[in-house]
């Protein structure tokens, strides 16, 4: 891919990461927060795909989904809403 295009996509994804990270503070529902973490992981995986690290991209995607699953398991026990 053209390096300029890669850079632009990279900036877009990194900006999206910042948006997600800020959004975590504002959501009141823990389930949403866990799903935001999943989105964070997948976006990082995309960033790494653009930075030529496919190995890491696979691992981060798998690990992020794994962590989100574990978190959802916990949320199913402790309840969703933060009062």
């Amino acid at each position: 891919m053209n390096p300029q295009v890669t850079d632009l996509l990279n900036i877009a994804f990194l900006g999206f990461l910042v948006v997600i990270a800020i959004a975590v503070s504002y959501v009141k529902d823990l389930l949403y927060a866990a799903i935001l973490l999943g989105a964070y992981s997948v976006t990082i995986a995309l960033v790494w795909l653009l930075m030529s690290a496919p190995d890491l991209a696979i691992t981060e995607a798998a690990a992020g989904i794994g962590m989100t699953t574990l978190m959802i398991a916990v949320i199913s026990k402790i309840g969703r809403k933060v009062e």
Partner: protein
């Protein structure tokens, strides 16, 4: 545009990485909900991984998988990638441990809010009883 800003623009991944690091630490330190603290840890560690990978990245380089047929390729630095693989493993285990601890705390206190836990603990201590 000044020289400073052009340098910042060239090294944009580091800027984002440090911003994410700050947001992560802010999330850990300011939220009283233990669950969000764990998410903050993941945000913080993800930012450090971005920093490492960006340090090993070469513009126009290809992934470090050996291609025997083409010797002209420029590979990106494989070392940071191998290291961050380990880093991801570590962050998964930290997350798992903290989730297990959250479950235990929920069993003991019935809440996952740090302030609430603190309140219950001081109340119980004032009454001189022990928490089961």
């Amino acid at each position: 545009m000044g020289e400073f800003w052009s340098r910042i623009l060239q090294n944009y991944p580091y800027v984002f990485a440090l911003a994410l690091f700050a947001i992560g630490i802010y999330t850990i330190l300011t939220h009283s909900n233990l669950f969000k603290k764990v998410i903050g840890i993941n945000i913080m560690e993800g930012s450090i991984y971005i920093l490492f990978i960006a340090a090993g990245n070469v513009r126009g380089g290809v992934a470090p998988i050996l291609d025997m047929t083409d010797t002209t390729l420029t590979y990106v630095h494989p070392l940071p990638q191998a290291l961050m693989l380990t880093g991801i493993v570590v962050s998964v285990s930290v997350t798992a441990l903290s989730l297990a601890l959250i479950m235990k705390l929920y069993r003991f206190y019935g809440t996952v809010d740090a302030k609430e836990i603190m309140r219950i603990r001081t109340e119980v201590r004032a009454n001189g009883a022990r928490i089961s």
